[in-house]
Subunit: 214 residues, 2 copies
């Protein structure tokens, strides 16, 4: 049975709201963004948003979830790859940085969510929701943590403390969400050049032996 207009528009309407919310949260932060702001960005009104989302915190959580889902989806094709950890790391890191650039509004929300922790989640339901999202985010981080730990054991990475190295690595890989903004006339090649610089910087930071990364 073919989908009716309702079924076809529902997801796209939700998606449009999430997109606008991501942009607003990205630009102004969570607290400084009002639901009316998001509605204005949609050329719409509050009613539409509250029809699809229970609360502001819930909307934020959904943006967070979508952002994480996009990350997992982007990494998925690589999960089955076999090979040395440090080489896998480079491919994973590349995809991650690509995500940070191409979906940066959502990724910024993920960042903000991790930063905020449980501040501003009054109801138990919301706390549980966020706990679950943090868990998801944490498992995502573990993918990379595991790779650099293995890379160190195999002698391809060199750093004294795993947790610190992991923090510093993610800082570099995530950094485009703070300083990247699209330039007019920018090509895919320009972006890939940027990605390469970021990945190389993180690679070096991990003490990766020069030249063997690519």
């Amino acid at each position: 049975m073919a989908l009716g207009i309702r079924e076809r528009t529902l997801d796209s309407s939700r998606a449009a709201i999430l997109e606008a919310a991501a942009r607003c949260f990205h630009e102004r932060g969570y607290a400084a963004t009002s639901i009316d702001d998001v509605a204005r960005a949609l050329q719409s009104t509050k009613g539409r948003i509250y029809h699809h989302f229970e609360s502001k915190a819930d909307l934020f959580a959904e943006v967070f979830r979508v952002g994480m889902d996009m990350n997992y989806a982007a990494l998925e094709p690589l999960r089955s790859l076999k090979g040395e950890a440090h080489q896998l790391w480079r491919r994973f890191a590349w995809v991650h940085v690509d995500q940070m650039i191409t979906t940066r509004a959502f990724q910024r929300v993920v960042w903000m969510g991790v930063e905020m922790h449980l501040v501003g989640a009054p109801t138990p339901h919301q706390r549980a929701l966020f706990e679950e999202l943090f868990e998801t985010r944490s498992r995502y981080g573990d993918i990379f943590r595991k790779l650099i730990a293995e890379g160190r054991e195999s002698g391809h990475f060199h750093f004294p403390n795993l947790s610190v190295a992991n923090q510093l690595m993610f800082m570099t890989l995530n950094s485009p969400i703070f300083w990247y903004s699209p330039r007019t006339g920018e090509t895919r090649a320009d972006i890939e050049d940027l990605i390469a610089q970021v990945v190389t910087c993180a690679w070096r930071g991990l003490g990766g032996t020069e030249g063997t990364g690519k």
Copy 2:
């Protein structure tokens, strides 16, 4: 003439407010922090804060300024040093990271201020004030930018794009404001160990030749 109680307490009272404001902004962000929050942190009331500061934005700006002042003050003893750029960079970077850790609440506010740009500064007076602070921050950044540019020319650093390298470097050096939190029983040696890891990571990221940094 000896200072009266008023003169002696004025600065310390202002300083206490700035300290509390820095902590609140650090923990909850600018928009989510109310003046009452800061007052509560001081075991005090709004009246005290508005007696010393014109507005919330003004208070924030002052915290920003103090943070930047501390950075400049910390670097000052090194400004007269002569030597090769890449070696100077390491000493400057060390001091910078130390600042990020030991005065992280203020430094986080500086970060937030740069992030917010001019959003939420409605009056021309506030805009001008923030413009000046950004200018100060920008000049501070130029100190490092100049060093890594010279270090590249002398063949000690290797990176394709100066602006990108500068961004990535600062991301690493600033990162403790996001992930560092003091541990119980932590010694100065522990902190210096941390600083060393951060500086080394940034050094490597810049393509610094291994071993010559220390």
